[in-house]
């Protein structure tokens, strides 16, 4: 039973973020498939491609509506539930969010109106331009939110100010070109592209299995197979890239993902499978492949990757240094002109966040005992087993999708895919995989950052609003209630229109026409 505001706020954030992320990847990916379909229509003039754009666009719209609905929650929630976070890092974190609105959301949302309503008002080329702008807007919004998120993982270009009691931006370019943000962006949007491709591939396969709308489904399948194959390759390659940047900025996450308790002589081996034991801080057993981890993690044979125990030992030192920073800060908050304290803070600023970890154990950090410091150092490591397994499941599903898209792409080159029921059935069964792996990816990225909201800067438990437990239970129940109803309604509509197929357009060219 959760009985504190911190855990409940985390749960509410996780529920609403994971839910929001059911809709976002499909939007990000499908919008480019719409661009491809419509571009083919404009170039060849073949009617079926416009019908494809409109039909898949209809399903896109049903999904998009919930993406918008649940997206507003995310923006509200920083203020409602993470007020101290919002104050402490708003100077940096708020900017990409506001720019996301100005640069991306306006474009995306204005163009989506024209996409649906403008078919008879715009020339073909104008409409294609609208679709392209909508796609650019959608993907730019992913860019800005991941710049914001990348900063939470790797807080560059900012410095703490004791006068304003917050982090302040010092270098916007560093924020923008944060390697973590860039790697996350390309990995995440590619995952979205895979989701869009899988959606079209699976539903088209279902039509083909039923022998319905064959021409329509064949063309959709082909585009999805090619787009999906390219995208899954990029997810895997770029995922490896984000693994590499994790290695530089957030070694802790890497060590937890790999259940690497001890530093090994370079190049480290890779635990293909293991059974992490949180209590003993060892693996009960493991199946390792020599060298692989060192090569992936450092792109070298000579560099070492620190294990969990070594990271904890380093963090213990940082906590001790951070204690001095916290004490100096407290003096400075009482007397802004305390120049001795300001010197101490300056010297230990980099470890201020680590000192704040002790707030979990004592209000007066100066009196922290060695046991408290040990406990805080232990806290800097996220729970290993959830990280280890989430990551492996995500990668496993990615590999399965690589095989599926590889097979589909090859079959679509040969052109005989509609006579391969096994492929089509497999494609249908794989429909949930991109969603599952996207959600797991979120877990790896965000759960893996614990105990921090901003890595090394602000502990999660200090980030929340001053709210009552009752308020949290009330709002959490409200979100779960609303979201459950919305999901049922959305799935009902999605299944209904997917089953009906392009006949729902009422053009008279397809099976199962609506009577009108």
């Amino acid at each position: 039973m959760l009985d504190n505001v911190v855990d409940l706020s985390r749960l509410q954030f996780a529920v609403t973020a994971l839910y929001h992320f059911l809709f976002v990847p499909l939007t990000i990916g499908m919008v480019w498939m719409l661009v491809i379909m419509e571009a083919v229509w404009v170039m060849t003039g073949k009617q079926v491609y416009q019908d494809m754009t409109r039909f898949w666009g209809k399903l896109f719209g049903i999904n998009f509506a919930l993406g918008v609905t649940t997206g507003i929650t995310m923006e509200f929630q920083f203020g409602t539930n993470w007020a101290y976070y919002s104050h402490y890092v708003g100077d940096i974190f708020g900017a990409p969010l506001a720019i996301e609105g100005l640069m991306a959301f306006f474009l995306e949302s204005t163009m989506i109106g024209l996409f649906f309503f403008g078919w008879n008002r715009l020339s073909r080329k104008q409409h294609l331009l609208v679709t392209i702008l909508m796609a650019i807007g959608t993907n730019l919004s992913a860019l800005w939110i991941l710049i914001a998120n990348g900063w939470m993982q790797n807080p560059v270009g900012a410095e703490f100010s004791y006068q304003t009691m917050r982090m302040e931006m010092t270098d916007f370019a560093a924020l923008l070109f944060n390697p973590d943000a860039q790697a996350k962006f390309v990995h995440t949007v590619s995952a979205g592209y895979v989701t869009g491709a899988m959606f079209v591939l699976s539903i088209s396969s279902w039509y083909l299995l039923r022998g319905r709308n064959v021409e329509f489904a064949r063309k959709s399948f082909r585009i999805a197979a090619a787009f999906g194959f390219a995208s899954i390759c990029s997810v895997i390659v770029l995922g490896d890239e984000s693994g590499y940047t994790v290695g530089e900025a957030q070694q802790t996450k890497l060590a937890a993902i790999e259940a690497m308790w001890h530093t090994e002589p370079a190049p480290a081996s890779f635990n293909l499978l293991a059974w992490p034991n949180e209590k003993r801080m060892e693996n009960d057993w493991q199946l390792s492949i020599p060298w692989v981890m060192g090569l992936i993690g450092t792109r070298s044979v000579g560099k070492q990757i620190p294990g969990i125990h070594e990271i904890m030992a380093q963090n213990r030192l940082r906590i001790q240094s951070g204690m001095l920073a916290v004490q100096a800060l407290e003096s400075l908050r009482r007397d802004r002109n305390d120049s001795a304290a300001s010197k101490v803070l300056e010297a230990h600023k980099q470890d201020l966040g680590f000192g704040l970890l002790l707030k979990k154990y004592t209000a007066d950090v100066a009196t922290a005992t060695p046991q408290m410091i040990d406990a805080a150092a232990r806290d800097t490591i996220p729970r290993v087993a959830p990280m280890f397994w989430s990551f492996r499941l995500m990668v496993g599903m990615g590999m399965a999708m690589l095989l599926l898209f590889g097979w589909s792409f090859w079959a679509s080159l040969k052109g005989d895919f509609q006579h391969r029921p096994r492929l089509l059935k497999l494609a249908l069964c794989c429909l949930p995989l991109p969603w599952l792996s996207c959600e797991l990816g979120w877990v790896v990225a965000e759960y893996g950052r614990q105990p921090w909201t901003i890595y090394g800067v602000l502990p999660t438990r200090l980030s929340v609003s001053t709210l009552s437990v009752e308020s949290l239970y009330g709002s959490l129940a409200g979100f779960v209630g609303f979201y459950t109803v919305l999901l049922v309604v959305e799935m009902m509509l999605m299944v209904r229109f997917a089953r009906q197929g392009p006949g729902s357009l009422g053009t008279g060219r397809y099976d199962h026409e609506t009577a009108h």
Partner: protein, 379 residues
């Protein structure tokens, strides 16, 4: 480069511009939502009403999202304090907004009267609750909100949700609701014809009178019955923001001080009246497009009145006045304000250009024939 104090004032103006933009753009489709069950009597009429904003509501809603983002970036302490302090009010706004995207997009996808009626009322809720609550929130800001900061600037809200629902705040909620339905009614009158148009015009007359009467009453109440706040220590406009570095006292009539100091600001309340009256007159003469912009000007006047009455306060604290948030001490760093200003100056004109294009493309009256012809693509 601009000095810090100027940037702080510019951002106060820009947040105002975003709020006014939100009221004009998202306001008219929220007003349409409020009027939907009353001006649309059968399914076709309701579809006509919904399709007047069908292509635009999503883009318009971004004014709201961007407004929130801009407050986060420019006034992080206001964002943190207001959103967490008004926790339940904010959740009500949020949950009401849930009905809009799904209401618009899902309503006409299934041909079932109960289904459609449920979403119509959902659109009513989504259009009515947010302006009502924003009005109530402004009513509370004008009286001061009970909150305080500790020495580390952690904010704590000292009141309850029910405390927000006091008579003056509810009056402000009524004014806000009336304005937004008025604005939506003018928009509907511009884009529809026949009976729907006539019903919309009738609602414009009713809500216009409520707007004028409510605004007057609130003004008298504010002048005579509500204490304003003044900074009683030296104002350090150019200093690093620190809300705890000042002292604040409550003074009767202080919210009128700015009108004495800068008499030209009296144009703002005047615009609040004139915009509304002009919109009603123009609409009577069939000049509905001009009426829309008159109404928009009226909205700007009323919002501007609330803003300038409180300036430089943004969120005064009634329980611990020294914790009050002002234009000078709730802002981001100079660098962030500069960057955000540049971003706004680049993107805002672009947004206006393509929004205008979208309205132009989709221009013209929405009729029953339009809905019939676009049965599969319209809402």
């Amino acid at each position: 480069m601009l000095d810090y104090a100027s940037l702080k004032v510019i951002w106060w103006l820009l947040v105002g511009v975003l709020l006014v933009g939100f009221a004009i753009m998202d306001g008219h489709d929220m007003g349409v939502g409020t009027l939907l069950p009353f001006v649309g009597k059968d399914d076709t009429e309701r579809r006509v009403v919904i399709n007047t904003v069908g292509p635009h509501w999503d883009g318009n809603q971004v004014w709201f999202i961007t407004g929130g983002g801009a407050i986060f970036a420019a006034w992080p302490l206001v964002y943190a304090t207001a959103f967490s302090g008004f926790y339940w009010a904010m959740l009500l706004v949020l949950w009401a907004l849930f009905f809009r995207p799904v209401g618009f997009d899902y309503r006409s996808k299934i041909d079932n009267p109960t289904w459609r009626s449920v979403w119509d009322w959902g659109l009513f809720v989504g259009g009515t609750v947010p302006p009502l609550i924003f009005g109530v929130a402004f009513g509370n800001l004008l009286q001061g909100v009970p909150f305080h900061f500790d020495n580390n600037l952690l904010s704590t809200y000292d009141g309850s949700f029910w405390g927000l629902l006091n008579p003056f705040a509810l009056l402000c909620g009524v004014v806000s609701s009336a304005m937004i339905s008025f604005h939506g009614g003018v928009y509907l009158a511009h884009l529809t014809e026949g009976e729907i148009q006539q019903r919309a015009q009738r609602w414009v007359r009713v809500t216009g009178l409520v707007w004028l009467a409510g605004f007057t009453l609130a003004g008298i109440w504010l002048a005579l019955g509500i204490d304003g706040y003044v900074i009683s220590s030296a104002v350090q406009a150019n200093e690093l923001p620190d809300p705890l570095a000042k002292t604040v006292s409550r003074v009767a009539g202080a919210w009128l001080g700015n009108y004495q100091r800068w008499p030209l600001t009296m144009l703002l309340p005047a615009t609040g009246y004139l915009g509304c009256i002009a919109a009603m007159l123009l609409l009577r003469n069939g000049r509905s497009f001009a009426a829309f912009w008159a109404s928009a000007t009226g909205l700007a006047g009323v919002i501007g009145t609330a803003g300038i009455s409180m300036f430089p306060f943004v969120m005064p604290s009634s329980s611990h006045p020294a914790s009050s948030l002002t234009v000078w001490d709730s802002v981001s760093s100079q660098l962030t304000l500069q960057l955000m200003l540049v971003a706004t100056l680049i993107f805002m004109p672009l947004i206006i250009v393509y929004t205008r294009w979208a309205y132009k493309v989709m221009g013209g009256k929405v009729t029953a024939a339009y809905v019939r012809e676009n049965n599969h693509s319209a809402y």
